[in-house]
């Protein structure tokens, strides 16, 4: 293995930080969702890297990564449907303006 575990984790941490910045700073709800996708991918890189370096004989890391991808697909499908529904009703996808629940 030419690349040690710490490098993989560093890259994953950087990707996670970028995604977190997207979630916190975007005004558009779809932009927030893009940030979440980046964070999920960072978590997945970690899972696969830990599988490869710490338990290469067990399958736990890979199986969990597949489950995470499945959950990400469900989350994207439902989340985007909610955003589209909110857009159709309020004519906006800016998260600051979707504040009906804040009384």
């Amino acid at each position: 293995m030419a690349i040690p575990l710490s490098w993989w984790l560093t890259v994953a941490a950087a990707l996670f930080a970028i995604g977190l910045y997207g979630v916190l700073s975007r005004r558009n709800a779809i932009g927030v969702l893009l940030g979440i996708e980046l964070m999920l991918n960072a978590a997945n890189i970690n899972l696969v890297a830990f599988w490869r370096f710490i338990t290469p004989q067990a399958l736990t890391g890979q199986v969990f990564a597949i489950f995470v991808i499945g959950i990400a697909a469900a989350e994207a499908a439902a989340g985007l449907a909610i955003i589209i529904s909110a857009y159709r009703r309020r004519r906006t996808v800016v998260v600051d303006e979707l504040d009906t629940m804040r009384w």
């Binding site: 597949i66 991808i69 499945g70 697909a73 994207a76 499908a77 985007l80 449907a81 589209i84």
Partner: protein, 118 residues
């Protein structure tokens, strides 16, 4: 293991190289004499009309949604299918439950008219 992926790497490099060459070389070598007909959006020979930024109907979203769900199903089918013979009836029943649950969603969308593009 990784040696098997060398062709993929070569393909990747070739695709990148061809794309870069096709974009960069004409900028230096080709003559540039734009006219109205030349800079018009290329629509496979048809005359373009309207705005490209129109809002697409929600039917597209529903089709994409179905595609996501069934794409995932294929992903879970694949490793299962590799060991189908060793798993006997138990594996078949488990995959049956898995598929049945997703078919419920499929039938639901069908009954609700999700496939009609209005």
């Amino acid at each position: 293991m990784l040696i098997e992926f060398i062709p993929v790497l070569v393909l990747f490099a070739l695709a990148t190289a061809i794309a870069v060459i096709a974009l960069v070389l004409p900028a230096f070598l080709g003559p540039r004499r734009p006219s109205r007909a030349k800079i018009e959006t290329y629509e496979s020979g048809k005359l373009p009309y309207g705005d490209a930024r129109y809002k697409v109907p929600i039917g597209y979203y529903k089709i994409a949604l179905l595609f996501v769900i069934f794409d995932l199903e294929v992903i879970f089918f694949y490793p299962w299918a590799v060991v189908l013979r060793q798993l006997h009836v138990f594996g078949l029943i488990e995959m049956g439950i898995f598929t049945a649950l997703l078919v419920v969603g499929y039938v639901y969308e069908w009954k609700k008219g999700g496939f009609e593009m209005e």
